[in-house]
């Protein structure tokens, strides 16, 4: 199992002129630390207009800065909006290739289509069409990276013959991923032979069937790119401390803040009737649990700050021993990588975040097998389906 860090760049109110600056620069320091400590990847989202929840609307800039400060850690778009109303697929390919060059071939290319009305409405993007827009872009971008003369004609965009430059350093191209928050999208990832980048915080039990389905379907995939990237990323929260009580205190602040920010987004499924979006929104289970536990038997809500029991099974919150135990659950269900949200709205002080990363690296990483992918069943007679892109 490998480990990564995941950045939304959440900025809590009240804002001051330095709020965003501090979040960005703290995050860059945390990526430097993660690189030094042996984490494998750092991912940054692309979101627009999502006040407090995510101020990371130009991840290619953030990741380029991270690339310049690090030497080993892989850098991921988690994810880039590849819909033409947001980013023309040509620009997606160009920017990603440039980042792959700048980072010496360390790019992981996650793709997505947004799940909020805030964003889709802001770009006047029809929610019914995002899946097919994403699919077109996903199939076109690897060709832009690998063909000297690229041309394209499809429903949502077209390109006359052009050489899309620069080309990425990784050959044939960087690994492809898609943001997965529903069982349907996990299947679609598998059908296209791309990585399953979990973006909804769930429990190992909730992920288990999704992982099984992904592994089953990817055996018969028609790859969207030039190779199959058979990998499953799980995502959860990370805070490690000397005692479970201390860890739960800060971990609760982290999870509750993130869930509260997420709750104030306008998810497509909550407001726009469409079969294209079926999931009940980010962190739904966390919010439901918080709601249930925050209601007293008398039926009136508890209004204590910090919320109710938002720490769920499998979260990497606790002492190193607790976190090892929890991560074993993820290993057991066949997740290849765990990626961690390590702060939200700077509710955990920056020095504590750095200390948590250090404790994780020193005491948790050695206890987990980081050399091999998680165990998974394979069809008889088939060789490995995962291919790592190569550096020239």
């Amino acid at each position: 199992m490998k480990f990564g860090v995941f950045f939304e760049l959440s900025v809590a109110k009240p804002w001051n002129p330095r709020s965003e600056y501090e979040v960005y620069h703290n995050a860059l320091q945390q990526i430097e630390a993660a690189d030094r400590l042996g984490f494998d990847q750092a991912w940054a989202v692309e979101h627009h207009f999502l006040e407090e929840y995510s101020h990371c609307s130009a991840p290619e800039v953030f990741l380029a800065a991270a690339a310049a400060r690090t030497s080993r850690i892989r850098l991921g778009h988690g994810v880039m909006m590849v819909l033409p109303p947001f980013n023309h697929p040509l620009r997606c390919a160009e920017r990603a290739a440039a980042l792959d060059i700048i980072s010496n071939g360390r790019l992981e290319f996650g793709t997505g289509r947004s799940a909020t009305w805030t964003e889709l409405g802001g770009f006047r993007c029809d929610p019914d069409l995002t899946k097919e827009m994403w699919d077109e872009a996903l199939r076109a971008i690897p060709k832009m990276w690998t063909q000297e003369t690229f041309s394209w004609e499809s429903k949502h965009f077209s390109v006359p013959p052009r050489n899309v430059i620069p080309k990425p350093v990784q050959k044939p191209h960087p690994p492809l991923w898609v943001a997965v928050s529903s069982p349907e999208t996990a299947i679609q990832a598998a059908e296209r032979g791309i990585g399953c980048l979990g973006v909804s915080v769930g429990t190992p039990a909730e992920y288990e069937q999704r992982v099984k389905d992904y592994r089953r379907v990817i055996k018969q995939c028609e790859p969207a790119g030039d190779f199959v990237n058979e990998q499953v990323n799980g995502v959860t929260f990370l805070y490690v401390d000397e005692t479970d009580d201390e860890a739960r205190f800060w971990g609760t602040k982290l999870v509750y803040t993130f869930a509260n920010f997420a709750a104030h987004l306008v998810g497509i499924s909550s407001i726009y009737p469409t079969p294209a979006y079926k999931t009940p929104g980010l962190l739904f289970a966390v919010r439901r649990e918080a709601e249930q536990q925050a209601v007293t038997p008398a039926g009136t809500p508890e209004r204590a700050p910090g919320g109710g029991g938002v720490i769920r099974e499998g979260m990497a919150i606790g002492t190193p021993q607790t976190v090892i135990k929890n991560l074993k659950m993820w290993e057991e269900i066949g997740v290849d990588r765990m990626v961690f949200l390590i702060n939200s709205g700077e509710q955990v002080p920056h020095d504590r975040v750095l200390r948590s990363l250090q404790l994780f690296a020193e005491q948790v990483m050695p206890a987990l097998d980081r050399g091999a992918p998680a165990a998974r069943p394979r069809a008889k007679g088939r060789g490995p389906r995962r291919a790592e892109p190569a550096m020239p």
């Binding site: 306008v266 909550s270 407001i271 009737p273 809500p301």
Partner: protein
């Protein structure tokens, strides 16, 4: 020793008059309802001006206008037009009721007293022709709101969502200088079994604004969604109440 009355508190019905209550208690079964729901973005400051302090706005701020006709109910047929602010109660999606008009006197009392809908009596129209629906509200001789729904096309009923409603239950003080006897938010979560669902385009206008019935304060800035459904629904007891 005087003779005291025999009507002890435990013998009181759910509402008055005690000899023959005006309406039955929840739950109310409301089969065959026709419901038009239109959602649109609104100005965030207008939203904040009308939300209770325990509720939060979203980004962007949005509102719903819902106009429904209930052909069967425990108090006979009635229609109900409501205007809601989309909001969050802690981490949950809710709709806070700002305006309501009904056309049935018994429904008016029940909706106000039991569920806390801020109902007034008026005229509520809803007429459907295929995939088009015209609806509106009149009160005091003014057409307060008009909704025009067009190009309705069938959509998966499971994708249609009605958020739990938060109603302000405010019982006025009966003594001079005292605060209201009750101020609370009641969460009402009607159950819906949707028989037919159409998604289309809609326009919401406020043809004759009225200071006494200020529906026009929630001006649409940008349309989000419009649905028309036929559903069997039930108006239950509140799931819980929360402080204002």
């Amino acid at each position: 020793m005087p003779d005291f009355g025999r009507l002890s508190a435990d013998r009181l019905p759910h509402t008055t008059p005690v000899a023959a209550p005006l309406y039955p208690p929840p739950p109310w079964s409301l089969p065959g309802a026709e419901i038009l729901k239109v959602t649109f973005e609104i100005d965030k400051d207008v939203c904040l001006n009308w939300l209770p302090p325990s509720l939060g706005r979203t980004s962007p701020a949005y509102a719903h206008v819902i106009i429904a006709r209930y052909p069967e109910s425990p108090v006979g047929p009635f229609s109900l037009a409501t205007q809601y602010l989309g909001c969050r109660s802690r981490m949950f999606v809710r709709a806070y009721t700002v305006q309501a008009v009904t056309d049935n006197e018994a429904a008016l009392s029940a909706l106000r007293e039991t569920w806390g809908f801020p109902c007034k009596l008026g005229r509520v129209e809803l007429s459907r022709k295929g995939g088009a629906v015209e609806a509106g509200v009149e009160r005091g001789g003014r057409r307060l709101v008009a909704v025009s729904f067009s190009d309705g096309a069938p959509i998966d009923a499971e994708s249609v969502r009605f958020d739990p409603v938060l109603n302000l239950r405010l019982v006025p003080a009966v003594q001079e200088g005292k605060p209201p006897a009750l101020v609370e938010l009641a969460q009402i979560g009607p159950a819906y079994t949707i028989r037919e669902a159409l998604r289309g385009k809609a326009a919401v206008t406020y043809p004759e604004p009225s200071e006494g019935d200020p529906w026009h304060l929630l001006q649409p800035l940008y349309p989000i969604a419009a649905v028309f459904v036929v559903a069997d629904t039930e108006l239950p007891y509140a799931r819980f109440v929360q402080p204002y």
